[in-house]
Amino acid sequence: MSKRFKKIFDNNNPKTKLVSYFVGCYPSPDQSFELIKQAIDNGVSILEIGYCTSEASAEGPVIKAAHDHVLRSGYTLNDTINLVKKIRDYNKEVGILLMGYIANLYKYPINKFVNDIKKAGADAVLVVDAPHELKEENELRDALNDNGLSLIKLAAPTTDQKRLEDIVKISSGFIYQVNVSGVTGVKSANEIDVANFVKRIKNLTNIPVCSGFGIKNPEDAKKVANSGCNGVIVGSTFVKYIQDNINAPDLTQSFGKQVQSFSEVLK
């Protein structure tokens, strides 16, 4: 695990970390940077910076639309890595995690990718469609480990005990606990289910658990935080806020307030 992640989770303040997902370079690299700066300034502990692929198989309509916008605009994984570098230059504490699909990494290819993001200042990678059964996952995990970076693994409601044990074993950084079966931004999480799931993971490991999917407002975030997880992940809700206000002149400022409304309840 990167030192930075350790530091973030060792710190008791905020009690529950706010992990927030951004579509890298959305709506443009510059605007994306401005929005992320607001997020950092308003209490986000870990940034998930998504890179885009046309066949993203876990994204709901909101994030898919953002991906399509970025792909249409021609921004690439390289642009997103550059963005990571700018973010790191702006802030040394925030955790940065690159998130996306195996398609782009395979072509990058993987070793070069790990080198480049390490240089850019990222801490971890999450690949949605790379379970540990996939050769490229193994390759990526090895390369990240060799470089002191983390491969963030997902645990889903469908993940059975045996499989959860395997996942916990190979996890580093934190475990991304998926609250609902489904694509991003559609279903809402059930409080009790989340609490039980967090307990199941905590029984197996000390690795921090961040809980995501289906968190639509600060109230949801608060409830999920009560489950005992170490972090709450907000994705589609922020992307949708940006989408809905994309032409508002004060988007950056108002977005900061939006982030704050979440971070506040997690203190």
Binding site: S57, N104, K107, P131, T158, S181
Partner: protein, 397 residues
């Protein structure tokens, strides 16, 4: 089966071949991984269950109408003046294509595994209407996902599936978008059974679909031996995901003296023009941008073969040089359609006309008269009549 057999199938993680060049695998989100493992286990158990295999054979015969005939295309042979051409008449199956054999197998498997609901994707709508028919037959609700472009061009399949009681989910685009969305729909309902329409997607689907469709090749062998006194010298089939062709050649994979040609649509010829990549659950050849961020590929008139990627088995067979892959243009497909309608009185779907074009324009003519070519005629043309009329209707006046 020896260790070196091309028929050993993928390893337990779904890889065809070894090392970094292995194709296939399981590139899906964690939510679906347990379902895939459960499916693999269910499949492995089922194919050891004689009763289950008998049930599959029973409905193949009575419901689908298998075996589909192996037909000597006398007039086409005479017209081309070269090789002896045989049609494997998969278009005579119930619902009009090879797809139903796979639908039947997977629905029976889902039933055996206690599944209550079904999801499928479709390109030409053949897999959708076939799965809908079987779903009706076994009393299971079905959601089918299709691209809007395809929905418009293969409308009859949509209506039939509706009459069978299936529900349609329309997404912008064609087969590619339908597959991605079907995976999303499955992710949202992982307790459903996903009935995959070709030898594509994550393990174990390529293995399962190839198994179901391999009945085609076994029939070809038996029929050809009986009728022709020998097995064919060449087998040609169209390749979208590649299931009809995989089914036709599977039984012959370890017989290198039998030529095998898979024919893609030239607009989406993943094997001829693509590079390895990982999308839609599998590592395989595909048309994509250099950075792997975007799938590519144009539109073919063959709705069922308008697919930027291809089943990993075919990528493996290409790398092994065990099978040749080529492609055909819309123009060639339409020409082949005309020739086969005129000479043999068969109104074929456009997809197999890619394979027919290869046979007619590039293979048959210069072969000796005792050389036999088996063409997989895997679908009937009703679904394509509007498209055909629009493009070459005037040629028939």
């Amino acid at each position: 089966m020896t260790k070196n057999s091309l028929k050993t199938g993928p390893d337990e993680l779904g890889y065809y071949g070894e090392g970094t060049s292995a194709m296939g695998g399981m590139a899906v989100g964690e939510t679906l991984m347990p379902a895939l493992h459960e499916l693999n286990q269910g499949f492995e158990e089922a194919i050891k269950d004689k009763e289950f295999l008998d049930e599959f054979a029973y409905y193949c015969k009575h419901y689908i109408g298998r075996p589909s005939p192996l037909y000597f295309a006398e007039n086409l042979t005479r017209e081309l003046g070269g090789a002896r051409i045989l049609f494997k008449q998969e278009h005579l199956n119930h619902t009009g294509s090879h797809k139903i054999t796979n639908s039947l197998f997977q629905v029976l498997l889902a039933k055996r595994m206690g599944k209550k609901s079904l999801i499928c994707e479709s390109g030409a709508g053949q897999h959708y209407s076939a799965t809908a028919a079987v779903a009706a037959k076994f009393g299971m609700p079905l959601i089918g996902v299709m691209g809007e472009v395809d929905i418009a061009r293969v409308n009859q399949n949509i209506i039939k599936a509706k009459h069978y009681g299936a529900k349609l989910k329309a997404v912008p685009g064609t087969l590619k978008e339908a597959i991605t969305d079907a995976i999303k729909t499955w992710t949202t309902n992982p307790e459903f059974a996903y009935i995959c329409g070709s030898v594509v997607s994550a393990h174990p689907f390529p293995k399962i679909v190839a198994f179901a469709q391999s009945i085609i090749g076994r029939e070809i062998r038996e029929q050809s031996l009986e009728q022709e006194g020998k097995i064919p010298d060449m087998i040609v089939g169209c390749v979208g995901g590649g299931s009809n062709f995989a089914g036709a050649i599977y039984d012959f994979l370890d017989e290198p003296n039998i030529s095998k040609i898979g024919v893609e649509a030239s607009e989406t010829a993943a094997l001829s023009n693509g590079t390895p990549g990982i999308m839609q659950g599998m590592k395989t050849y595909m048309l994509q941008t250099d950075d792997g961020a975007k799938s590519l590929g144009g539109m073919s008139l063959g709705a069922g073969i308008t697919y930027f990627s291809v089943g990993p088995l075919h990528s493996y067979l290409k790398d092994q040089k065990a099978v040749t892959y080529s492609s055909a243009t819309d123009q060639e497909m339409l020409e082949a359609y005309k020739i086969i309608a005129r000479t043999e009185g068969i109104c074929s779907a456009l997809e197999p006309m890619a394979a027919a074009a290869e046979v007619i324009f590039r293979q048959a003519k210069d072969k000796p008269k005792d050389y036999t070519i088996c063409l997989s005629l895997c679908g009937r043309g009703e679904k394509d009549l509007d498209t055909i009329q629009e493009h070459i209707g005037k040629d028939f006046e």
